[in-house]
Amino acid sequence: MDKHDLRVRDPWEDLKRYTDARIAMGRCGVSLPTRHHLDFQLAHARARDAVHHSLDGDEVQLAFESLGMTVIRLRSAAESRATYLQRPDLGRKLLAEDARTLSAMVENLQPAPAEGHRFDLVLVVADGLCAQAVEASATELIRELLPMANEAGWRLAPLALVEQGRVAIGDEIGGTLGAEVVAVLIGERPGLSSPDSLGIYLTYAPCPGLTDERRNCISNVRPAGLLPALAAEKLFYLVAEARRRKLSGVELKDELPQLQENLILPG
């Protein structure tokens, strides 16, 4: 042994093949060796940066427009990150000014049919707790979804790009637009090993005041997790099923055992 190496090594490193947990790290005295300490600090630093990184709205908008989408930019009532983190209620509703803009826009659209909805699906993209996840995966996911949606003949609403938004803000947007289904693509709470995870929350017949048991979720969408292309397939299937059965939530989830249910709902 190197006489400068003061670490007590753990002779069970081969157990790491069974788990990604931080085991067999060794110790200096009773404490964590420098290398492992700094590895942890780095993972936490990345997760913190992910939480506080603001969405590059212009760039994301351009990317969506290049796919042929019309994009509406909206803001939640939480005007800063600090407010967003402490007041989930404000992140769930639109800033009054933007709610008025959205309503005014809807008045210029053709009226909804007497029975039914103006749009079959509205996509809402929100920064949530991790704007990086939106930047990393949302464009690819929508690129994969659009051909399927077009082939099925879905009437898509303009895409709503929301800053400081939580999941339930999709209910207000979907309700105002008169959409049958809303799918909210939102950055999830970053973990130490997954700082760029996107979640998708789908709700049938959205309107303000709905709660989480009415939603279906696809989580852990990221380059090293559930790939965006695969997530798009799952989303297409879920939207189609929700429209066919006219519901979403627990009853729909039962039929989809292959979906991951280990969710962390950002509000």
């Binding site: 069974y18 942890f40 090993s193």
Partner: protein, 458 residues
């Protein structure tokens, strides 16, 4: 009845006891979110002055959640021990703080007093205390519980070994258990949070834990932290259940949001005690709590989150648990915003639990969207050790890869034991020495590559 305080030429009025408690509570984001927090720093201190003048007896006559509509309130009032209350019956909340800090409040006196205190009395005095008060008084309390080991003796610090795995893979769980045991962790419980509440998956984990424990004759207890209804079903099917776990809260509605009631807990408690699996004692329940759970379920009834939390301890103490754990920083920044709020809440919960007679541990933890980091956890960990905390969590590298939050590591437990000369539970300490894992005092010695525990996964 309303409460008043005049400061200079300004008069503050608080409409009722729950409003007074809420306004007197040290600042935290959850009370702001609920619209209950003091509107200014001065109003908060005015409320604290007014609260200091409230006689303790008031809490027995003015309920903060109606007796008629809440079974937790009924439990608090109906189970109150008037004889035990006698030594402090004449005191106000402010006098009670002075008394707790005085030499009159010895370990023995506080032990006898516990059944005479209600959660609201304890929550109230807590709001008048600084951190050093919370540490000093809690350190005088002694709560000892037993199952296969003895938890809570003076000079001891136990750990829950938390070997979670994102797919409940038995080998993945076992790898973390072996790592933790070789770091001297696991004397409070080896407890897994399952990903799914699926009965067969839960039973598979229970059997794996029991087999491992039996094979090495580990003097500890195991637990799969599934919902109480799932655990009851596992018991009916003959699965080896040591401890029955449940998350609980401080209002009937909050417990309903967890899918439990006192009747269900009574049933589970009876089933657990009837198994008589603990050779040293009959404490066989494990509860988890945490400030903010009532608000997140819209079940707080206008009561501040620290008082709601203390009321959860009235539920816990009905069942003489082996362990109670406040999972303080898990809930997120909308309830406890930053390290400062998490640290205070952890020490408040420990203080209130201990004063009410509970074996109180703390999951010293945070999420990545809270304004907190490892330095904050070190501060709370050290203060909790100084306060005589019963147990903490042991998670590999402090990184729970299933629940995606940061708790305390196996190393952290050794730090506290080393710094404050704390030892594991005596039966477990003997086992560590016998297994060539630790020396005298419970601190680890280098382990050989052919160690018996490493054969488990070989």
């Amino acid at each position: 009845m309303s409460y008043r305080c005049t400061l200079g030429n300004r008069r503050y009025t608080f409409s009722d006891l729950k409003t007074l408690l809420a306004k007197a509570s040290p600042a935290r984001s959850g009370d702001v979110l609920a619209g209950l927090a003091a509107e200014s720093a001065e109003q908060r201190v005015a409320a604290q002055f007014a609260l200091a003048d409230v006689p303790l007896q008031t809490f027995l006559t003015e309920t903060i959640i109606p007796y008629e509509s809440d079974e937790v309130t009924r439990l608090i009032i109906d189970d109150h021990d008037r004889q035990a209350f006698e030594p402090v019956r004449h005191l106000t909340v402010g006098d009670f703080r002075d008394w707790l800090l005085s030499d009159a409040a010895t370990t023995e006196v506080l032990t006898d007093l516990a059944p005479g205190l209600t959660p609201e009395m304890v929550a109230a005095v807590c709001k008048l205390m600084r951190l050093q008060d919370l540490v000093l008084v809690a350190h005088k309390c002694r709560v000892v519980t037993r199952f296969r080991g003895t938890i809570g003796l003076p000079g001891r610090l136990s750990t829950r070994l938390q070997p979670n795995h994102p797919t409940d893979d038995p080998k993945g769980v076992a790898a973390s258990i072996v790592d933790g045991l070789l770091y001297g962790n696991g004397d409070a419980v080896i407890g897994v949070n399952p990903v799914s509440d699926n009965l067969s998956a839960v039973i598979r984990l229970l059997e794996m834990l029991d087999t491992l424990r039996e094979r090495y004759h580990i003097p500890t207890q195991t637990c799969v932290l599934s919902h109480i209804t799932t655990t009851l079903e596992a018991i009916r099917r003959g699965a080896p259940v040591d401890l029955v776990f449940q998350s609980i809260g401080g209002t009937e509605k909050c417990n309903a949001s967890f899918g439990v009631s006192l009747a269900m807990l009574d049933e589970a408690y009876q089933a657990a005690t009837e198994m008589k699996r603990g050779p040293l004692g009959e404490n066989c329940m494990y509860f988890e709590t945490g400030q903010g759970s009532a608000l997140s379920a819209a079940a707080h009834g206008g009561v501040d989150q620290q008082t709601c939390e203390a009321r959860a301890y009235a539920v816990a103490r009905r069942y003489r648990p082996l362990l109670v754990n406040t999972v303080v920083g898990f809930i997120g920044p909308e309830y406890l915003y930053d390290g400062k709020q998490i640290i205070r809440a952890g020490l408040e919960d420990h203080f209130c639990g201990k004063l009410l007679g509970l074996p109180m541990g703390c999951d010293v933890c945070y999420t990545n969207h809270a304004e907190a980091d490892q330095d904050d956890m070190d501060t709370l960990l050290t203060l909790l050790g100084a306060a005589g905390g019963t147990f903490i969590m042991g998670v590999p590298g402090a990184d729970d890869i299933m629940l995606n939050y940061q708790s305390t590591s196996f190393h952290d437990a050794l730090y506290l034991r080393s710094l404050l000369k704390l030892r594991p539970a005596p039966e477990f300490e003997d086992w560590l020495i016998e297994m060539d894992i630790a020396g005298e005092g419970g601190l680890p010695i280098p382990v050989d590559a052919r160690h018996r525990l490493l054969e488990y996964l070989a």
